[in-house]
């Protein structure tokens, strides 16, 4: 065992770990900068979260992912129970029931739903031996993904709910989803959009989309945030205004600057140069993880990596777009950088699994 662990230790992707820590560090810097005038000690709790996240990462790394996958149904059921629990007993904040109070901090189970879904779907698709994916497989897997999506939507937390969907799509895609079905799905999506617009989206959600198309319609609400987000990044210029010198974030023209809009603040204070560094790090993390998937010893491992990575990537792309005013404003955090303990811990736990898969690529 000892020998094994030492051998595994050599196969840890240290470059990825360093990139992850770098992004966390940048996040803490920006949280520090954006909250100095209001809640100057907030960044410290992000430090605690980072510590807990590191522990979670090591735990997820230590246990063989196949062992975890074998128990994925239990994990999945556990998370679903938590999601149901939170609907009834969760703490309400900002009109949504998302948190389970744990004394020291509030646990947000939806953040962990992605790992559970990735595990259960990887297991499901990984054990499929029939060669081609049948529609039944896709439907069953879809059902597994949809259940937590619906539960999270009930909170309501559309943003987090939506991030579960890319997990399903990514795993189904690499698992051999026929191009034909992909095309049909795309067509159906286009046709269903107006229906969804009319019947599924709530008024305020429609408003958000409308505002995105024309922010000047709502210069005080969501449109205001979108305009301010673009002003914030745009005014950063090439080299930025300097640490803690961004006027938009410091003077609170941008709401939740330490959270949803942390990348705007990064762009404002560190400029285009900083943006390129951050984007480069995120891209590195993604490509490195894709490498892990490619190198995975088995399909289970590859799917697991891709599932976790898909949720992560979707969130990064969406949040970064939003921070430049390129996407409708949605309460979606930037993984690794945004303030938020559950998000950071869950994200690092996810990367623990990705590292796990890569590390164990030669083991039997």
């Amino acid at each position: 065992m000892n020998m094994l662990e030492r051998r595994l230790y050599f196969h840890v992707d240290w470059a990825l770990v360093v990139a992850l820590l770098a992004l966390c560090g940048m996040g803490i810097l920006m949280i520090f900068s954006a909250t100095q005038s209001t809640t100057p000690r907030l960044y410290i709790s992000q430090f605690y979260a980072l510590g807990l996240g590191a522990v979670a990462l090591v735990v997820m790394l230590a246990v063989d992912y196949r062992t975890l996958a074998d128990r994925s149904h239990l994990i999945y059921i556990g998370v679903v129970c938590l999601l149901i629990y939170v609907l009834f007993f969760g703490v309400i904040r900002g009109g949504a029931r998302r948190w389970i109070p744990l004394g020291v901090f509030n646990l947000q189970p939806s953040e962990f739903a992605r790992i559970a879904v990735a595990l259960v779907l990887a297991k499901y698709f990984g054990e499929n031996r029939r060669g081609n994916l049948s529609l039944a497989d896709l439907a069953i897997a879809g059902g597994l993904a949809l259940l937590p999506v619906l539960l999270i939507m009930r909170q309501p937390d559309l943003g987090t709910a939506v991030t579960v969907i890319p997990i399903y799509l990514a795993i189904a895609y690499v698992a051999g989803l026929p191009t034909r079905i992909l095309a049909v799905a795309a067509i159906v999506a286009v046709l269903a959009a107006p229906v969804a617009w009319k019947f599924v989206l709530k008024d305020y959600q429609r408003q958000r989309v409308l505002t995105f198309v024309d922010p000047s319609k709502d210069t005080r609400g969501a449109g205001y945030q979108q305009i301010q987000a673009r002003i914030t990044t745009g005014s950063g210029g090439l080299w930025g205004k300097g640490f803690m010198k961004g006027t938009q974030g410091q003077l609170r023209f941008l709401p939740v600057a330490h959270n949803d809009f942390i990348f705007s603040v990064w762009g404002e204070e560190q400029g285009f140069a900083g943006v390129i560094v951050a984007l480069g790090l995120y891209l590195f993390v993604i490509l490195r993880s894709l490498d892990a998937a490619r190198l995975a010893k088995d399909r289970l491992g590859a799917y697991l990596v891709l599932g976790i990575l898909a949720g992560f990537t979707f969130q990064v792309l969406y949040n970064v777009s939003m921070s430049a005013g390129l996407a409708p404003v949605k309460g979606l955090t930037l993984p690794l950088m945004s303030y938020g303990g559950s998000s950071l811990i869950a994200t690092l736990a996810g990367f623990g699994l990705i590292l796990n898969v890569r590390m164990r690529r030669f083991t039997n």
Binding site: G234, T247, L251, R252, F253, F272
Partner: protein, 648 residues
């Protein structure tokens, strides 16, 4: 591998995802490049507009001093309360709260905001000018982020005028620039304070300073976080101006008129150069009421007041000069060679001209009088006769030379022109020819003749200085921060050569008015050789008076006194106009106080204190009642009319 084709698909599709990730991140990078590099300037500006407020620092207007350096008008710090609409979420609520806190009328503030609605959102709109300390305290106590984030309290300099209405019509007042003024003047912006009347308006460019600027950093709810370093531009104070006004002489004139209880005007000049030593119009108003933005009620009250306090009677009132006009007729006749100073006329109490009988004011007549005595006694018949010999056009010519019926050119806005009729004027005005009979009334300053007090002052100054029609002016020196510099004396309006012996005859007559058997002996000052002339002018025909009843104050005659002194070396000349003063006596009493003050100051004697005679017209040293009316007897009301009074 167990399922190579599956593995192949996996690898291929991972590559697709890899490419997709690179492309998407590339697109993001391009977008950021576009916003942060290409459009940087635009967003930089927007960010600055977000958090930087340019707040004007109002420049103090130039301080006004009297000719000896005594402060007349200065600036005091005051507080303005403004609304910055950029931070307003609910304007009605803000105004309502502000009204509740300060007690200022809600509707009035709404009107102010409505007036400025087209201005940029970030520009503060001043809704309460010159707020009281209690109001400021109440506002700052509640100006927490979420209650009144859009309220701004700024300290600004505000004009401080003398509190006793001293020289109110000289100073005028200031107020916010009107839209028309902003449009017409370069460099003037909405919200600037400019002179709206009087000296403040006439010399606005000189007095107005250059506003400074400070750029403050505000947060998203408009709370000021500090001043942007190096952004402050200090305001430059307007130029300090030393007026020609002598505080003590000014005060003497006003004390006199106030003490006697008459409305009216006084203009006192230095006949040598036209410097205005005193200039007043009564009733006056308190210019301080305008300094903090005059409210509707005050403005309405001032405008509808029957006493018309806003009218500057000295330059905007037109009145018959009465007997004060006689020197103009005398000078015309002498200079035109119609008469000599020894020309004599017999006055038996009236005379027939063109089939009508014109009465002298003294029923018993003056006997045979020459020019000097005619002026001394103010004999109407003498001037009827001389005026008739002259004709109206020569009277017009010479009175114009002396400054009557033309603008004085004083540096105050809205001066009106008086009138000395001529045949040409009547032809143009009515299309009718001038009747010689009309000249008779004109000869004693009645009929169509009307003058402003300031033009009478110029007229007397011209007689005093021997023919130079000086331009009355109020500016003596200015200081733009580099020390006092004398301002140039405006050139005379005209100059006419007068024969010294003619001039002396007229001056002798005026001297006798005061120092011999004349109508203003009470204006005597030993050793100062005061020369003067009283005048009485009807404000209504005797017929109209009878119709209107006898006791309405506003029908009483106007009283004049014109003067200069000393006779042989005139240093002071002027006019006192007592509205409804009944005759020149009251005006002469005021003039005497002005002259005494002037000479006492010159001789370093204690200044006299004005003591009003108990009941002015009655107890004043009783003069002979002079020229009552020049209307033909035919139009006189039966039994008394205007002559009822002088017997007292």
């Amino acid at each position: 591998m167990k399922f190579p084709e599956e593995r192949q698909t996996l690898t291929r599709r991972i590559t697709v995802l890899r490419v997709a990730a690179v492309v998407l991140f590339g697109l993001l990078a391009v977008s950021f490049w576009f916003f942060q590099i290409i459009q940087h300037a635009k967003f930089q500006e927007m960010a600055e507009n977000n958090h930087q407020r340019e707040l004007p620092l109002r420049a103090p207007r130039g301080v006004l001093f009297d000719r000896h350096g005594r402060v007349l008008v200065e600036n005091r710090p005051s507080f303005n309360v403004s609304i910055v609409r950029l931070h307003t979420t609910n304007l009605d609520r803000t105004i309502h709260l502000l009204s509740a806190v300060t007690g200022v009328d809600e509707r009035r503030m709404q009107e102010v905001v409505a007036r400025h609605r087209n201005e940029p959102q970030y520009r503060p709109i001043v809704v309460i000018e010159d707020a009281t300390l209690a109001q400021v305290a109440a506002i700052t106590a509640r100006r927490l982020d979420f209650e009144l984030p859009d309220i701004l309290v700024q300290q600004v300099p505000t004009r401080q005028y003398p509190t006793d209405e001293l020289a109110a019509h000289v100073f005028g007042y200031v107020g916010e620039a009107t839209e028309a003024q902003v449009a017409a003047t370069t460099g003037l912006k909405s919200g600037d304070i400019v002179g709206q009347a009087g000296f403040e308006r006439a010399h606005n460019a000189m007095l107005m300073g250059k506003d400074g600027l400070r750029t403050v950093v505000v947060n998203s709810v408009g709370r000021e976080m500090g001043e942007l370093e190096g952004s402050r531009v200090e305001p430059a104070e307007g130029r300090r101006v030393r007026l020609t006004i002598d505080y003590d002489v000014q005060k003497a004139a006003e004390d006199g008129l106030n003490g006697l209880g008459f409305n009216g005007a006084a203009v006192v000049l230095d006949p040598r150069n036209g410097e205005v030593l005193a200039f007043t119009s009564r009733p006056a108003y308190d210019p301080n009421k305008f300094a903090g933005g005059v409210d509707r009620a005050t403005w309405a009250a001032l405008n509808t007041d029957e006493q018309r306090p806003l009218q500057n009677r000295a330059i905007q009132g037109r009145y018959s000069p009465g007997s004060t006009f006689k020197m103009a007729v005398a000078l015309a006749a002498l200079e035109e060679g119609i008469i000599t100073p020894d020309f004599k006329v017999h006055c038996s109490g009236g005379g027939n001209f063109y089939g009508r009988y014109f009465k002298c004011w003294r029923k018993e007549g003056h006997g045979t009088v020459d020019l000097r005595h005619a002026i001394e006694r103010s004999c109407d018949v003498f001037f009827y006769t001389v005026g008739n010999m002259l004709g109206v056009d020569r009277i017009h010519k010479w009175s114009t030379q002396l400054g009557l019926g033309v603008k004085s050119g004083i540096d105050l806005p809205n001066e009106v022109t008086g009138l000395v009729p001529s045949t040409k004027w009547k032809k143009e005005r009515t299309g009718e020819k001038w009747y010689a009979g009309e000249t008779i009334s004109v000869s004693i300053g009645q009929g169509q003749v009307s003058v402003t007090p300031v033009s009478l002052a110029v007229y007397i100054a011209t007689l005093a200085n021997g023919g130079t029609r000086v331009t009355p002016h109020l500016t003596k020196a200015e200081d733009d921060g580099t020390g006092w510099k004398d301002l140039p004396v405006p050139p005379p309006q005209s100059r006419v050569e007068m024969k010294p012996e003619m001039l002396h005859a007229i001056r002798d007559g005026m001297w006798m008015v005061v120092n011999a058997g004349g109508t203003a002996r009470l204006a005597q000052i030993p050793g100062k050789d005061v020369c003067g002339k009283t005048g009485t002018a009807q404000v209504i025909s005797n017929k109209g008076r009878a119709a209107a009843g006898m006791h309405r104050k506003d029908l009483r005659d106007n009283g004049w006194f014109v003067f200069f002194a000393p006779r042989d070396n005139p240093q002071i000349a002027g006019v006192v106009f007592a509205e409804h003063g009944e005759h020149g006596t009251a005006a002469a009493v005021v003039a005497k106080h002005v002259l005494q003050t002037f000479f006492a100051k010159q001789d370093h004697q204690p200044l006299p204190v004005f003591r009003a005679p108990n009941a002015p017209p009655e107890s004043a040293p009783q003069p002979e009642r002079e020229d009552q009316q020049a209307v033909p007897v035919a139009s006189l009301a039966p039994a008394g009319g205007a002559q009822a009074e002088p017997g007292r």
